[in-house]
């Protein structure tokens, strides 16, 4: 008799394509192998459906059939590591980067990254906005040395492709017109206000500014990075917008 841990290990492998040989399955009118197939299908379809729920825009871009094949390939290579199926699928952006059949759609991985990030932003812990009175009391000569906290949900993504435009285009139930994929790179800020995820484009300067601040570097370093990539970067206005939108939520020296 196969001890329980070995039995489960072996059956688990069989669900993911391993041989069912040696599994003590009763026949009872229907062969053990055929019975096992029900569980194989359940496993595959549960994970495929989970991916469909997370990546509707990717599915829209490639079509249902292509998506199903790609999802099965992903599932075969990436077992689920959590009992919560909502955790599944985080490596899809990376997977798509090197997924041969999708090579003609080089933006797919970045669109997937935007979709995954949206979901993470939607459920990240809440935050309190910046204490503006405390900020106003920081002496002028100390401002450049300030470092900032950002809301846990906020993330900036940078892509060679117009990922936000693609995402928005795919939200239309009946997309009309054409999307110009050659419109170049887009940088997207995802944040949450109340329960809604907000997405907006960042200029190259804003992106650099925010990235440096989010790494925990000083205000001065962030300004320098922004001005390097965007000559006319308006520090005061952009910083105020990031505070107002509750992207930057605290500061420390």
């Amino acid at each position: 008799m196969l001890p329980l841990p070995e039995l489960q290990q072996k059956l688990g492998q069989a669900l993911r394509g391993g041989s069912p040989e040696g599994l003590p399955l009763r026949d009872g009118g229907i062969s053990g192998a055929r019975r096992l197939q029900v569980y194989r299908n359940n496993h595959a379809s549960a994970l495929r459906e989970a991916l469909r729920a997370v990546y509707p825009v990717v599915e829209r871009l490639v079509g249902e059939e292509f998506f199903a094949v790609a999802a099965d390939a992903y599932v075969a290579a990436n077992p689920s590591r959590s009992g919560n199926i909502q955790d599944y699928g985080g490596a899809v952006p990376l997977f798509l980067e090197s997924y041969g059949p999708a090579a003609s759609l080089p933006y797919l991985g970045d669109v997937a990254a935007l979709e995954w990030r949206r979901l993470q932003t939607a459920v990240a812990p809440a935050h309190a906005p910046m204490d503006l009175e405390a900020l106003a009391q920081v002496p002028g000569d100390a401002l450049t040395d300030l470092r900032f906290h950002h809301q846990p949900a906020a993330r900036a993504l940078d892509s060679r492709f117009p990922i936000l435009s693609i995402w928005q285009f795919c939200q239309q139930s009946d997309p009309d017109g054409e999307l110009d994929l050659d419109r170049g790179s887009e940088r997207v800020l995802l944040s949450r206000r109340a329960e809604e995820v907000e997405m907006r484009l960042l200029s190259p300067g804003e992106y650099a500014f925010l990235r440096v601040l989010c790494r925990g570097e000083t205000f001065e370093a962030a300004c320098r990075a922004a001005l390097t990539v965007e000559r006319g970067f308006d520090v005061e206005e952009r910083f105020a917008a990031l505070v107002r939108d509750e992207v930057l939520t605290g500061f420390y020296l």
Binding site: R34, Y39, A46, I85
Partner: protein
């Protein structure tokens, strides 16, 4: 005046509905007269966001049951401390009147299969899963209801009938039983046992809840195999079995589950009304 549901009010012996994400908004807007709701615990593990905020609002007006699918109580990997912590946090947040899980395993070797996999019904498995339920109950600080699952295969070395196994798990671990009447029916057909005999073996006082759902029949090489799809109305045969269950067990909180090809909420309400009619007959008989 505080009209919110008492945090400790039990689930009534009435027909509740399994609440799924696409219906959350409608329920909050229309506040339908449903005696209680059940949700899948894992869908509300996130610390924030629209889903948990909506469930908070549902909870203010309705008794709630949390039903888990991912704890792998019958598994051989150690219980996932993170999963337990998430569940504990959800229990503290939503103050559910019932917390349930399944008599099955869902993971092995660190891989999760997201399906309710059957145990071999052996003394070894009985000892193992009973101890795991005790451990989970201790770590959660809550008594669990444990649900019998549908199954499509049996193990050659299973030596204990499933009904005895379930009864014994409850006796050894102190857990309650969530009796899924549809699952009993599905497994009875798939493995050729008598569903009524199963029900007769279950001690009424251990049963805290009943589940009802729809299944589909497949023809496999000329032999019928029932699949617990949760995509259909409850079948006539399962309603009959449910009536028999109520006769044996007395009225119990009963839940209509529907998970795939989810219909309009009104369809679920109509299913719940059917269950309510059965429960009403039992309440009347008991009076």
């Amino acid at each position: 005046m505080d009209t919110s549901v008492s945090r400790h009010e039990p689930i009534p012996a009435q027909a509740g509905i399994g609440l799924r994400a696409p219906h959350l908004r409608q329920v909050l807007e229309q506040r339908p007269g449903v005696p209680w709701f059940e949700v899948h615990s894992e869908n509300y593990f996130a610390p924030a966001g629209a889903a948990v905020a909506m469930l908070d609002a549902v909870r203010r007006d309705y008794p709630l049951s949390l039903h888990g699918v991912g704890l792998s109580l019958g598994g051989s990997d150690s219980l996932d401390p993170q999963h337990l912590q998430h569940l504990k946090t959800a229990i503290a947040r939503f103050a559910p009147a019932l917390v349930s899980e399944h008599l099955c395993w869902t993971a092995a070797g660190g891989q999760h299969f997201h399906d309710l996999l059957p145990l071999p019904y052996t003394e070894e498995a009985l000892r193992h899963v009973s101890a795991r339920i005790v451990e989970a109950q201790e770590r959660l600080g809550r008594r669990l209801l444990i649900e019998n699952v549908s199954s499509y295969l049996e193990f050659e070395h299973s030596s204990i009938p499933e009904w005895e196994f379930l009864r014994e798990v409850a006796a050894r671990s102190g857990c309650g039983i969530l009796l899924d009447v549809n699952n009993i029916y599905v497994s009875a057909v798939n493995h050729g046992f008598d569903a009524r005999r199963y029900l007769e073996a279950i001690p009424a006082e251990a049963v805290g809840e009943i589940h009802l759902a729809g299944h589909v029949a497949k023809d496999v090489e000329g032999t019928p195999l029932l699949i617990d799809s949760h995509s259909q109305p409850v079948t006539a045969a399962v309603w009959d079995l449910y009536a028999y269950a109520l006769e044996r067990l007395g009225p119990k909180p009963t839940l209509i589950e529907w998970d795939s090809e989810l219909p309009a909420f009104a369809v679920l309400q109509a299913e719940a009304a059917k269950a309510e009619a059965h429960l009403g007959a039992r309440h009347a008989a008991a009076a």
